[in-house]
Every structure is written in C-alpha cells, then in structure tokens.
Amino acid sequence: MSTDAKTAEGVPAPVRRNGFTDETLDWRAWLQPLKLDQASPLQLEVLDESHPQSRTSSYYLTLAHQPLMLRHRSAAYNAIMYAPGGLPRAERELGALVVSVTNGCVYCTSVHAQRFEQLAKRSDTVEQVFDDPRTAGTSERERAIARFAIAVTERPQALAAADIAPLRALGLSDEEIIDLLHAVAIFGWANRLMQNLGEPVSKA
C-alpha cells in the first residue's frame, strides 16, 4: 500500500501492517462493566468528566467500578495529552503511538494512529511506525521522539543522560521533554489496562 493510496471516493485507504490498523476498533471487557442503570451519581459524574463517549464505552464502564481512581487517571491523562502549550500535540500522539506499537496494544495503536493523522494531516509516519518503530520518523525530530519512547518503554532503569542529549540537541526545552516523558509513560499505564482487562474487536 502506498502513502497516497485512496479509495474510489477519495478517502485515504486504511493503513494495515503487522497486525496494526488505523481503522476504528471496538473493545470487549473480560470483566463485567458497570451497568448504567446501577451507576451512582459519582460514577456518572466521573464517566462524564473522563471522555465524551464513556457512558457507552466498555472500557470506561469497567474502570468506573473504582470511580475516584478513574477520576485522577482521567485528570492526568487529559492534562498530558490535551493541555495547550509545550510539546506539540501531534508529537505527544507520536510518543503514544510508538509506545502502543512497542507494547503490542492494537486498540491503543488504532486510536493514536488516527489522532496523529488528524493533527499532522498525513499518515506516512504511521506507516513507518507500524513497519518498525525503531527506525520510524520522517524527520530527525520524529526519529528522536520515537527512539526516546522506545527507551522509556523497554529500559526505564537504564535511561541516562545519553537518552536526553538528542532531544536537547534538537532544541527541546525541559518542559517539552517532560511533556514527552509524560505522554510516553502514561501509555505504559493505558496499554496495560487495555491489554489486560479486555481485547480489541473489529467494528460490527
């Protein structure tokens, strides 16, 4: 599939490689998700502050069994991925995408491939990450972000000054490096929940 592949309607063709896709997937819980008609006022409040579609999401309904734990997770997640300023959001999504592919989280990969494509308005980097995150990136900056994301994911205790130097050499401030670190680290959290409390399923 080439970068410019389009369907007859002019919509970009989906990117499908190595078991990953940028198409929208569903997710099925292995535990019993909360039933909305049995939800407490606190559970409903936390669902609504977590994600716009959480009342119909098996994932959020499962996590809503512990509403206060979900509340603080969502506050961290939303501030890390959506807050203005600092590292551009497309680059936070690239970090999330590389971690998700490295961890083998097919569901998170599909969501964050789409987010990157929406923000960057292109899919070439996504194709490269699906092929091999270790060499992926259409620029020196993207390659440095991908390599840092893999290092944090695979060998956190061996992180050293040498892992920071390439980011600083590209002009990233400490605030931007921390933004990237947060985005990469929180996908260590998000992937583990998605991969261990349920599984991705194709859209019906």
Partner: protein, 162 residues
C-alpha cells in the same frame, strides 16, 4: 489544592528533586499532571477496596518496584508499609495471586489474558477489586518511568527552558 512551587511530592522525592532545582520548576509547568499523579497514588493506595487492604496494596507496589529495579520507589513503598496502620493484620488469601498478576503485568503487558483475570476471581477478588489492582499496577508502570526519566534529565545537567 494545586501544587506550589515549594511543594515536594513523591515523584520529586523518588527522583531526588528539590525546590529550586530547574527540573522541579519545569514539572510545575504541568501543575495538573503533578497534582493528578499524586492524587492517583493516594487514591490507589489508600481508598477502601473490598478484599484488598491498603497494606496488601503496598506489598504489591513494593514487589512491582523491586521487580522493575525502581529502587527509590521500592524504598518509598516499603517505608509506607512499615507505617501502615493495618500492616499487622492478616493479608488477603488472594495475595499470592495478586503478586503473580502484578509481576506479569509489570514485566510484559502482552502477557495478560482472560485466564489471568479468572485466576484473580478464583482467588476471591471481585471485579471492583480487580480493577483497583490493575489500575495500581498500571499506574506504577507510569510512575516508575516518570521517575527514571527525570533522573536521566537530572544527570544530563541543566537544560533549556521556555
């Protein structure tokens, strides 16, 4: 309450950051993240969870940090356990199963499957306790990476700010 510039939270402590350090201030650029990370830690370890006491969750946390080689965090959780009001009460009979689950989840997120959750149910945990356990272990994967990244930044010396 929003974090203050002279506050120290547990990520600062584990990473060796003090007020006045450039990295301590750089973290406060994302005050909401600082606050929510600490609030997650507190909620995951202190809120009542049926079938999984705070002391048992501290045992899980210390075990996870030990396996991951996160020495300063392991020390934090061991010290918290020593001070926990319920430290001398008997552990849940499900503790061995929770430690097995936590080890797999920490080591490789691909290892999880339906059978791993069933093993926790068979050991006596309800679904709400399993969600609490999974959130705790997954959070620790986040926390230990943030601490390790900050330590690497600290060892790289002063960087640029915006």
């Amino acid at each position: 309450m929003p974090p203050h510039l002279d506050d120290i939270d547990m990520i600062d402590r584990a990473a060796g950051l003090e007020p006045g350090d450039p990295l301590h201030s750089a973290r406060r650029f994302r005050a909401k993240v600082v606050e929510a990370s600490q609030a997650s830690h507190d909620a995951l370890l202190l809120l009542p969870v049926e079938g999984l006491s705070p002391a048992d969750r501290l045992r899980v946390a210390a075990h996870v940090c030990h396996l991951a080689g996160a020495a300063s965090l392991e020390q934090h959780y061991v010290e918290r356990l020593a001070d926990a009001p319920d430290r001398d009460e008997p552990s849940t009979p499900a503790l061995p199963a929770t430690l097995t689950f936590a080890a797999a989840l920490t080591t490789d997120p691909r290892l999880g499957d339906r059978a791993a959750l069933q093993a926790l149910r068979d050991a006596g945990l309800g679904d709400a306790a399993i969600v609490a356990l999974a959130q705790l272990v997954a959070f620790l994967s986040y926390q230990l990476r943030v601490v390790a990244g900050l330590q690497a930044m600290q060892s790289a010396g002063a960087g640029g700010t915006k």
